[in-house]
């Protein structure tokens, strides 16, 4: 079954250029979204061994609840952004859509493989596609930002490759489940884990390596920066979680992760207040949200992991909503500077509504989904140590502060711009869909939990994953 989806996706990427049609890419992504949604509700863990070789020798894709959960998020966000960017990208549209389709293949590959080197290849595919997409506008700012992103990104993925080479040296296999059996958790594996996490922390924007995000976001076209901060960072976080829990099977409270998460949260929050450029502000808020996720995951307790995954789920939705709605404002006014914008609320009620939902959601206001996950995080961290919870609450207050500032600057106040063009339909529909989803999950968090619960016990029961993969082999 998955072969059909895969071949459709790969073919779409190659044929969009040959046949000069954009619809192929969009329909392929939407088709794979529907497939992953259906595949999610099949009971057992589906396994697919490529070209028939059993797991330790060939590559195997494991469609467990966590991987499919990420795949649904990825294809959903990609299809919405693809629809959004129909009007946004005016010139060279076919090349843009091929790159978007290749980016989807990379992201799906990361979330579903059961083989570490295959994950590295798709991680590299995702990075190369995003380097080209960031430099797409070819103006002064975006080339410089793309270069900075490229050099740091490829340096970090080389560190990831060093980690994988060492894992092969120590365990002799490349299959994640097979490797999990052979890893004994000795000091050597801590070093290898440190290296791999060092490589991955850049792509998931943890503090010492978060500097590329605020430079890249203003330079990239809005749909790309929406993807960048929601899905690419999300897949970086997913890879870290997958490697820590499934491969290394570390269940104990991971103090290093908690400390990193705390610093990321605080630094992201503080830096965001001082920003003048709206996109840099949103980028720093992504950094602080990632800090939240890592605090919860670092807990190691089932409650902590559920809270972290739920916050990852919400963060992807909210960040994409924020960036896409700000993209429309940018499309109209053309400036990103806070003090130049003003008084757009009356002219663009829908955009104001969606941006408001996104802003209040990330800040964690009760009716919206951000609050549900943050509340779980507070509960999870409360058991371990109340200091962390208090810091988390302070930072979410700071997030509320700078989001209110942004909201009031853009939408209230004297209107400086007269809006000439009418916002095209294809740009409005994705935001409204996202806003509705955020509200629904906010009011009924059980829906979100229904997705997140099975994903966490996939993570926690490492044994179930191993005998599912190797049991067949």
């Amino acid at each position: 079954m998955i072969t059909i989806v895969l071949s459709v996706l790969f073919l779409a990427a190659f044929l969009v250029l040959v046949l000069k049609r954009d619809i192929i890419a969009i329909s392929a992504i939407i088709f794979s979204f529907i497939f992953f949604l259906l595949a999610y509700f099949s009971p057992d863990i589906m396994m697919f061994a490529f070209s028939g070789w059993s797991p330790p020798f060939g590559i195997v894709w494991v469609l467990d609840k966590l991987g499919l959960f990420m795949a649904i998020m990825i294809t959903g966000i990609m299809s919405l952004t693809a629809v959004y960017s129909v009007k946004y990208v005016k010139e060279r549209k076919h090349r843009y859509y091929t790159l978007i389709c290749l980016l989807t293949i990379g992201l799906i590959g990361i979330s579903l493989t059961g083989d570490i080197f295959n994950m590295y290849v798709f991680f590299e595919l995702m990075s190369v596609a995003s380097y080209a997409l960031v430099a797409f506008l070819l103006n002064k700012e975006s080339t410089e930002a793309a270069l900075k992103y490229l050099i740091t990104g490829s340096l970090s993925s080389s560190f990831l490759l060093v980690g994988i080479a060492m894992l092969y040296g120590l365990t002799g296999t490349l299959n994640m489940a097979d490797m999990a059996l052979k890893i004994s958790g000795g000091p050597v594996f801590m070093i290898v884990l440190g290296l791999i996490l060092g490589g991955l922390s850049l792509k998931s924007a943890i503090v010492p390596f978060h500097f590329w995000l605020p430079d890249v976001h203003p330079a990239a076209p809005s749909p790309v920066s929406a993807l960048l901060s929601s899905v690419i960072i999300g897949s970086g976080v997913y890879m870290t979680i997958r490697i820590i829990f499934t491969v290394f099977g570390i269940m104990s409270i991971f103090w290093m992760l908690i400390i990193l998460g705390l610093i990321t949260m605080v630094v992201g929050g503080l830096m965001a207040i001082m920003q003048k450029d709206v996109k840099r502000l949103l980028a720093y808020s992504t950094v602080s949200q990632v800090g939240y996720i890592f605090i919860a995951i670092g807990m190691g307790t089932p409650a902590g992991v559920t809270a972290g995954l739920f916050h990852l789920f919400n963060n992807i939705l909210l960040k994409c909503l924020l960036f896409l709605s700000f993209g429309i404002i940018l499309w109209h006014t053309g400036t990103r500077d806070l003090n130049k914008l003003g008084g757009l609320g009356k002219r663009m009620p829908w955009v104001a509504f969606c941006f408001g939902i996104g802003a209040l959601g990330t800040a964690g206001i009760p009716p919206l989904n951000g609050f549900a996950s943050k509340w779980l995080i507070y509960l999870a961290t409360w058991e371990v140590s109340p200091i962390i919870t208090s810091i988390a609450i302070i930072v979410s207050a700071i997030t509320l502060a700078y989001y209110l500032k942004v909201f009031s600057c853009i939408f209230m106040g004297p209107s400086t711009f007269k809006i000439v063009k009418k916002t095209p339909k294809t740009m409005l529909i994705p935001i409204i869909i996202l806003a509705i989803i955020c509200i629904i999950i906010g009011i009924l968090p059980q829906i979100g939990m229904m997705f997140v619960e099975p994903a966490t016990n996939v993570l926690l029961e490492q044994g179930q994953y191993i005998n599912a993969v190797l049991g067949v082999g």
């Binding site: 190369v128 380097y131 700012e141 080339t143 410089e144």
Partner: protein
């Protein structure tokens, strides 16, 4: 054990590559530093798969039966093949963006680039 020197050289090359990327302001030198770093990893991968007086993993009519005792481990060689292609594509893309950046900034010095960005 012959492999200790190879591990040391690959470690040194990695240090050289990271130093070059981190410290050199010129853009082309940074890209060269990246290439050095990825080649160091390829050397590391091959030494992981190496073996005392091992022979290349090609089965020829003569060494069909003695092949399995002496052959070098083929799996890292397959990984190196893939990662060479990946590092080629990254370097090609980096050079292309560097050309376009040079056309905008008239300089390849990253410090000047970031203040010129304005």
């Amino acid at each position: 054990m012959i492999m200790i020197e190879l591990y040391l050289t690959s470690g040194l090359m990695m240090m050289l590559g990271v130093y070059c990327v981190a410290m050199k302001p010129n853009l082309i030198k940074k890209i060269i530093g990246l290439a050095i770093f990825t080649d160091a990893i390829h050397l590391l991968l091959i030494t992981i798969g190496s073996r005392e007086n091992g022979i290349p993993p090609i089965i020829t009519p003569e060494n069909v039966n003695t092949f399995s005792q002496f052959s070098v481990d083929p799996v890292p060689q397959a990984l190196v093949l893939t990662s060479i292609v990946i590092s080629l594509s990254i370097t090609a893309l980096a050079l292309c963006i560097a050309i376009i950046a040079y056309r905008h900034f008239k300089t390849l010095d990253t410090e000047k680039m970031s203040d010129l960005r304005g």
